[in-house]
Symmetry: D2
């Protein structure tokens, strides 16, 4: 399915950040290949995790403000489904 | 500096996993570009975070078993330094 | 202020779980006082963190399904405020 | 078993912090009982999680500097066991 989502207006912002994250992951692989100091590798991994979480939190906020809120406004089964789905996604983020 | 580290023996294992993670990040970027459903994008981000944490935990275990333990065995200032450094890296992982 | 919130209907469920968590924290303190093995203490701390996160995720789901969704349905400044507030709370959970 | 551990010298510091955390958990329960605003409850839960993680990171650092490092210095099966055990505890902290 292709269609408008909560995040659609800021698509370029997200894909740009993800390309940068992709480069950071490539850099970590290179650090290991070059036997860089373990702690420095771990610092980079933490930085990538933070950057990814930041992307996820942005997507989530837009999802809550569009999809979930509209479904709740309409009520019924779809509202419950969207809410449960968003909560499960939040739980995965908290635990990952 | 290039030299042997705790993780050196398993370098290929780590670089292989990081290349896969790099591909996953590229896939997330593509999902956003194709307007995929937000929750599915979030699920992929959680998967990448888990995969990165798993790499980090492996590197850390080898670091503790080599670098840190050897420094503690020798004692002195270097032991304290290595221990504090490893603890700070663990704290960053816990909080990222 | 006292009033109905998203979680009000399940208040007893939450206070009961928090009383159990309170007892677990007291137990951890006792373990340290009795010089229990460090790893066993850490296992208990992880269990308490998981239990607290589970309470937080439940409260959050109810908050999103009531407060936030209603505010978004009404629109305007309040909608933006509630959404930003919920997102900040999610970010704190993800990072704590 | 009662005996000296890495954390023994700072036992009072830890039990004092845990008593404070216990009080914070009791406060959260009271907030819910008094129908406080959900976001304020979540903020308190995040604060307790951070405080608990800080206790855990302290205990872990002392455990690594004593138990684990001594076991690694002696080598053999016990070294592997202690290291695997510490790594598993770190993984639980990262994921909880």
């Amino acid at each position: 399915m292709t269609g408008a989502h909560g995040y659609s207006a800021r698509k370029d912002n997200y894909t740009k950040r993800l390309r940068r994250i992709e480069g950071q992951v490539r850099g970590i692989s290179k650090m290991i290949d070059e036997d860089k100091y373990c702690i420095d590798v771990l610092t980079q991994i933490s930085a990538v995790n933070s950057a990814l979480q930041s992307v996820a939190l942005g997507l989530l906020e837009e999802h809550l403000g569009h999809c979930v809120s509209h479904a709740v406004a309409e009520g019924g089964e779809e509202a419950d489904k969207k809410l449960a789905e968003a909560s499960a996604a939040i739980a995965r983020l908290v635990r990952s």
